[in-house]
Symmetry: C2
Subunit: 152 residues, 2 copies
């Protein structure tokens, strides 16, 4: 199967990956969640080439993850703001950050820490069950298949 | 910057992406969390080519995400089991699933549902603060930069 066909499968993971299953996209999102909005800032902070960055930003605007807004008329300049759909990707980035901090750390410790403003704590957010509040253990989760994941 | 250099940056997100920032890898992990362990099952369920699948599995074994274990001597056959490091990627997959269910669903509803065994509820796990227990809102999180993310 080609990747272009995967987005057509009924699996939500595969559909999500058709938009964000790309390391450059996820690096751009990391910067967006750090407050970056402008092309040149994305470029200098990620080290991406202009071509690759422009391509990814265009695709993310088409998918509704970013909204492209003019912030200057002369010269015409645009910024890229996360939409609600884009902000909802935050848990994906946090999950990657947590995993990297835990399994790929070096002796200098994390490069970025997250402070939860309402309580002031520096935290690694955890996934919990919205019904009972317990922390999620993958071995205590049963995936129930409703449809064949390959069918279109 | 080339992607091969990104894994050397101090950012945990980038380091995580150097291992799992690839849609095929994430699709393989999806299957592993559904209980798949054998090459032929990964292949038939994802539609990946043998070459791409073999390459990804080898890399994931090298990274310590899977452990490769013989389950048959004649013929010699191996299975791929998630290690603790691999199981810790579950929140990444769940976050992608949640996002796909919410933003890329079709009228037939989710193809996979998750049941939290201890309480029996079908759920979309949520990220919460381990200190105060509140659900995480990205706008209530402040990233604190400890080091330049580009430095090596």
């Amino acid at each position: 199967m080609k990747w272009s066909e995967i987005g057509g499968t009924p699996c939500s993971v595969a559909r999500a990956l058709s938009v964000v299953g790309d390391r450059w996209v996820l690096l751009v999102l990391r910067e967006a969640f750090m407050g970056v909005r402008r092309f040149e800032d994305f470029r200098s902070r990620t080290g991406m080439s202009r071509r690759v960055l422009a391509e990814r930003l265009t695709a993310l605007v088409e998918e509704g993850v970013f909204e492209r807004r003019a912030y200057s008329d002369r010269p015409e300049r645009f910024e890229y703001r996360l939409t609600a759909k884009g902000r909802d990707l935050y848990p994906v980035l946090v999950a990657l950050l947590n995993w990297g901090d835990h399994w790929m750390a070096d002796e200098e410790g994390p490069a970025v820490e997250l402070v939860h403003d309402p309580c002031g704590a520096t935290v690694h957010p955890v996934q919990t069950c919205p019904r009972c509040g317990q922390a999620i253990d993958p071995r205590a989760m049963t995936p129930v298949l409703k449809r064949d994941l390959r069918a279109t």
